[in-house]
Structure formats: C-alpha cells, structure tokens
Amino acid sequence: MGVFPGLVGSLSLDFSVKLAEAAVKKGHTVDYWVSSNATMLSKKGQRSFKDYSTLYKTLEELFKTGNFKACACEACAEARGFHKEDLMEGWIRKSMDWYLASSFDADRVLMIGGE
C-alpha cells in the first residue's frame, strides 16, 4: 500500500491505516509505504488529542502481528526534518525502490493519494 497524505488535515491517512488493519485481520500481509507528507506518520513522540485521530496505537498493534511492515521514504522524511532517530519503533526507512520491490510480487497495490 502506497500512502501519501499528511497526518493531520485529512482523514485519508486514517482510512489507509484502517484498511491495512482490516487486511491484516483477514489474514493478509501488508507492506505499508509512506511518502511525501505521510512520512509524518512514522515520527515517534506523537501525542493523543481528542480532536485528532491517534493512529500510532493501531500501528503498534499491527507491528505485533508480524504481518505488517511499514517503511517511510527516507528522502521525504529528511526533507521534512525527520531523521533516523525520530523514527517510531517498528518502522524502517528506505528509498523509493523499496516500494517498487514490494509491489513486484504483491497481489494488490493500493495507492492512497496525497494533497
């Protein structure tokens, strides 16, 4: 799954996480790639507010299943000031070829577009 929208400002990212969660619950494995503003999702230290959805908790549960891999675009993150030490546990950072390699033998590729 390739995901591009920002963390706060639209619910597209929420949709993608819920879709990944539903897929994993159905027994699928999910590779979850975030690029562009969606890299914000990979940043540790997010706080939970009632006005905003809290996606990191769902991600933590997904990582525990072993059927969910999440990777952030390294260049997109660095351009936004997120460095390796800012990465939430469970995430990896790679360049865009990781996403294409994941797509290579995926049964389905879903792209959730950004702003």
Binding site: F4, S35, N37, S103
Partner: protein
Amino acid sequence: MATTKMGFIIKSLPYKTEASRLAMTHAIASQTVEIYLEDGDMVEPVVCFIGDGVLNCLKNQATAKHYDITSLEMHIRNSLLLDLKVLYCKEDLDRFGIKEDALIMDAEDLGGETKAQIVPYSEIQKEMDSVNHLQFF
C-alpha cells in the same frame, strides 16, 4: 525471472502539489529496484500524462531560477534518458492548444535515445489494461 509492469498515471498540475514529482521519482526508482529482487526479475514502469497532467510536460521550466529546486522537466528528461516509456495524451494536449514543439520530447542532449510519445487516449487505455499495477497521481 519475471517482470512486473507498473503504470504511473499523472493527472495533477505541476508544482501545485508534490504528486507529479512523486510519480516520476517513484517511476525512476525502478532503475535501482533490482537490489531487492531475485536475479532477472524487474519492474517495468510506464509513465502517462493525462488531463491537467500534460502541463507537466512543457519545455523550458525555470524552477531552479524561481524556487531553487529541480524541475519536473529534468525528471521527465531523466526518465527518457533511462529509457522509460513516457506517453502524453493527444486529446488533452489539443484541449490546451499545446503543440509538440512546446513539449519535452527527448533527452538527446544528455545522450538519451528514447523519445516521449504523443498518443491518443485509447493507446493510454491499452497501456493501463496491460500493467500489473496502476497508480494515479
């Protein structure tokens, strides 16, 4: 030994959002994907510009001068240099009154041999039918 064909369909305006740049950088990343794959396996991208997306393909973009960033023109030229298939929708170019001489058609000055192609939408539809995975930007 297998090939997965991926369609990158660009319909977004240039520079208004990051979308068209991301489409092109992801397509170009197909050139280094082999490091993750088995020997002989490859990803074959095709990049199609449709709708407002054809405005990405205009020559003489001056983004380095005005924004101090690489231009989408350079990404298209790099795509051609790397022999990616790049298609422009003829009907959408006609809609904007854009002629071929206003478009980035090759990367000859960089040593590229592959040319962009202006094709009817029906040809782009055939490409979309032929790919394994399709992504709209």
